[in-house]
């Protein structure tokens, strides 16, 4: 269990950021559901829940998700169900129960780069960017590639409405458990974008053209470039086998929609 010396309800992003960078043990509080499973000693816990950062909205080009939006809001969002085969909503619907999904936030999951996340995998298969308060806008792929979690505040998740079709699959040892592996595949203009997560490391993405995808061997070749690890839920070898199957199923699903 973590400890907090001081809880601060931030009045603005600027105030939150200034406090965040003052001390290495000052942290932004997301849903705090996963935080409580650790034993961090937090100096100031910065709470952004009064800053109206809980939203899912669209403009002409993008869908935006606010960092304090809960997984439950994502799961039932008609807007997210309408786009990309509904994979963003689907990716969160099997995570434990609705009570927990009413607590977990999109921003904390994405910003913390959780390796077990289904949500990040779905986002990674799409053209997703994030906006950081100081770091500005960058692709989610670029953000995940940086090893450290920066001392910054995630302001929004931006998904480009580019007409991608997408499919998402996850494998669990039991319903509502964390996935032992998940994958999401999107398709646009002859190119498949394949994201694999819960490896158990952070999700990674590979692209392959429709032309190059002439046989299942190509999928196996692509999977062989991804590193899989072992933990209490599954071995790396098992994950690799499952990855091939889930990716094939996603691609089949997308082909059958054509």
């Amino acid at each position: 269990m973590f400890t907090i010396k001081q809880h601060l309800m931030a009045q603005s992003i600027e105030e939150g950021y200034e406090i965040l960078v003052k001390n290495r043990n000052n942290v932004i509080l997301g849903g705090t559901a996963f935080l409580k499973l650790g034993n961090k000693n937090i100096n100031i816990g910065i709470d952004l829940s009064n800053l109206e950062l809980d939203y899912i909205r669209e403009d002409e080009n993008n869908i935006e998700i606010g960092p304090m939006t809960t997984f439950r809001s994502i799961e039932i969002s008609e807007l997210l169900k309408e786009h990309f085969g509904g994979i963003v909503a689907k990716s969160v619907e099997e995570i434990v129960g609705i009570q927990l999904r009413s607590v977990i936030t999109a921003g904390a999951t994405a910003a913390s780069k959780y390796g077990f996340s289904d949500f990040i995998t779905a986002l990674l298969s799409l053209d997703t960017h994030i906006e950081l308060y100081k770091g500005g806008i960058m692709s989610l792929e670029e953000y995940l590639a940086e090893e450290k979690v920066p001392k910054d505040i995630l302001l929004r998740i931006i998904i480009k409405k580019d007409g991608k079709r997408a499919a998402f699959k996850a494998m669990r040892n039991s319903k509502s458990d964390y996935a032992i592996l998940n994958c999401a595949v999107s398709y646009l203009d002859g190119e498949y974008r394949v994201a694999v997560g819960a490896r158990p490391g952070r999700a990674v993405v590979k692209t392959i053209s429709e032309e190059a995808l002439v046989s299942n061997e190509k999928i196996e070749e692509m999977v062989s470039e991804v590193k899989f690890g072992t933990n209490m839920r599954a071995s790396g070898e098992y994950r690799e086998m499952i990855a091939k199957v889930l990716i094939k199923r996603c691609i089949e699903e997308l082909k059958s929609e054509k």
């Binding site: 509080l29 849903g31 705090t32 559901a33 434990v96 609705i98 009570q99 009413s102």
Partner: protein, 149 residues
Amino acid sequence: MEIKLKINGINKEIMIKEGEYLQSALKKLGFLNVRKGCETGSCGLCTVLLNGKPTLSCSTLAVRGVGKDITTLEGESIEVTKFAEVLTDEGADQCGYCSPGFTLTVIAMKRELESPTIDEIKHYLTGNLCRCTGYMGQLRAVKKYMEVK
């Protein structure tokens, strides 16, 4: 720090520690049916309704309850009585430890979903674990309760 919580329509003041969770605060205030279970967010025992939505009080900071309507079993006595009748009729209540959280989730489901399918009911209730009943009696009771006006 001192905070004000609106629980079952009544404002209460309470001193909490920094980082204290809602389940603990409610227990201090005497709401003993908001139970502590797994403390990993998996079992649903500590479920309360936060602005009408089933939420884990063991994973929600007490301070985030400020300005929201918090509902425990005591705040839903009419619906609880209706559900308790069908639950006992179906022999679906055994040790009863999971019942408060389970009952609140079922009440929220009835308000949120119109004529849910069995799969939708199961999906909604996934976060409420019961180690006694095997769920079949509960499922029968929930189906009956969903038909009660």
